[in-house]
Symmetry: C2
Subunit: 308 residues, 2 copies
Amino acid sequence: MIKVLVLSQHAERYRELIEDVGLRGAELHYALDLEQALPVAAGCEVLFGAPDLLASALPHCPDLKWAQSSWAGITPLLEAERRDYLLTGVKGIFGAPMTEYVLGWLLALERQIPQRFAATSWDDSRDGHVAGKAIGIMGTGSIGAHLAQQCRQMGLSTRGLNSDGRPVDGFEQCWVTDQRLEFANGLDYLVALLPHTADTDGLVDAALLQQLAPGAIFINGGRGNAVDVDALLAALASGALRHAVLDVLPEEPLPDNDPLWSVTGLSITSHTAAPTPGRAIVEIFTENFRRYVEGQPLNYPIDFERGY
Amino acid sequence: MIKVLVLSQHAERYRELIEDVGLRGAELHYALDLEQALPVAAGCEVLFGAPDLLASALPHCPDLKWAQSSWAGITPLLEAERRDYLLTGVKGIFGAPMTEYVLGWLLALERQIPQRFAATSWDDSRDGHVAGKAIGIMGTGSIGAHLAQQCRQMGLSTRGLNSDGRPVDGFEQCWVTDQRLEFANGLDYLVALLPHTADTDGLVDAALLQQLAPGAIFINGGRGNAVDVDALLAALASGALRHAVLDVLPEEPLPDNDPLWSVTGLSITSHTAAPTPGRAIVEIFTENFRRYVEGQPLNYPIDFERGY
C-alpha cells in the first residue's frame, strides 16, 4: 500500500469525494492542518492538497515522491527549497469559470449593470457593447485560450501574449513578452491570466497601460504580482483606464482598512474568479494516482524552473 | 422620381447616412415630427421611419405604397386601420446586442457583480455560473436563435417556445405555445423575446412562473404585453424568482413615481437592451429601396395578420 496524505482545510470534503470513487492501492490519511498531519507524515509517499500546507509539510515527509496540488497557484511549493519530488498541478478546469468571470465583468461594465441593477428612474442612455472590441490576453495557456475562443464567438478581436510569441488557437495574433507594448497598443480590454513567476512580476506597468485605447478596461484574473498597483491607480485617476477589476492581490485577503477598497473605478472580487471545483480536482488526483501506481507519466507536471 | 418621406426624431442622422450612400431615383424629404411632415406628405409613395410617427402620418399619405419601419416594434402600425400598403420591418441586427444584454445580466447576477462592483471588504463567498444551466427562450426568431447559439457555446442547455413548435437551430428542443408549461418546467433562466401580438399577451403568467426551477431568473427583452406584472411581483416576493430584469413595460417610459422602481429583485433597463443602430437600419432601407425600384420582393415584409 502507498501511504497518501490529504492535507487541506477541505480534507473532509475530499475524503467523501475520494471514497465515492475509491483509490485502489492507497493507505489514506486526512489532515486539516499541519498539526494533524505531523503524526502521519513519516512514510508518506504521496501528498495531495493545498500548496501552502504542503509546503509546510515538506520537511516532515522524508519519503515524499509525488505531490498533487489542489490549487492552480503553487507559489509556496515553488519557493520551498526542496525539489526532490514530482509536483503536479491542476489544469483544464478553470477555462469556463474564468471566461464567465471576464465576459461577465466586461458585459456588466459596458451595459452599466451595476448602475441599472437598482435604477430608480428611466434612463435610456445608450449602453456599450463588446462586439468589435479588441481584447488582449496575457497568458495563452488553457484558460486564456478558452477565453479567447469565446471572445471570438462574441465578435471581439483577440490578441495573446506569451513567453515565445507562439500562435495559439483562438488568438488572431500572439506576441512575445518583450513586445508587450506592441501587443497592448490600442486594446479596448486587457486581461492578465499569468502565473506567478519571476518573469511576470510587474508586467502590467505604466508603460503598458499607456498603450491601451482611451477608456480601456483592465481585469486581473491571474496572480497579483503581475500588476504595478501604483501605475494602475494613476491610470484610473487620469481616466486613461475606465475601470479595473482585480481578482488577485499581492496580499490576500486584502485587509478591510486597505485604501484600495475605496478607489473609484476599481472593483476587487476577492479571488473568486475561478473557484476550484472539488470534484474535478479529485478526478485529476485519482487519475494521476492510477497513473502513478501503474508507472505511467502523470498529467500536468510542474517544471520547478519555469514555474508552471 | 419616387417621393420618399423620412419621418423620425433621428431624421437628420438618417439624412447623413442616406447621403453617404446615395438613393438613386428618390426625391427625399425629411421630417422630425408630424407637423414637419404634413406639408410634404401628399404624393409620398414611400415612408421610412419610426412606427408611431408613421402611423400618425398614414391618413395624410394617400399615395403611400410602402412603409419601412426603423424599429423592431411596429405595434402602432399594426393597430392602425389602414393596411393597403406594404410594410417592412428590420431584422438580423438585434441578435448580437440582445445576446450581450441577456448574457451580461445572467453572468452579472450569478457573479454578484452589482454587489462586488463597489465591495468594501473581502468576500470570497462562492459565486454562481451559467454553464450547465437550462435556459428557455420564448421566441425563436433571428434574435432568439442568436442568443440560443451563444448560450450553447457557453455550456447551457437551450429550449425554445414558438407558435408551432418547429425545430430551430441553436435550440435543443422547441415547444409550441400551448405546451408552454412543459417548456418552462425546471428552467433556471426564462427569457422572453416575443413580439407584441394578441397571441403573446400575458404568456408569462403565474402558471408559467410556477414551473421554473426555484430561484430562477426571468428577463424580458421583447415587449411589455407578454408579462403579467402582478404574477411576476408575487413570484419575486415569494422567492420563487431570484431576480427579474425588465427591459420593456406596458407603459414607456415608466414614470419616476411608479412603485415598480422600488421592487426588491427587479431591475428595469429602460428599453436599452437592443438599441437600433442607425447605419444598419439605413442599409436595410436603401437595399429595400433598390429592390422596390427594380420591382423585386422586399426584405422583412410584415404580415399584418400575424403581426410580425
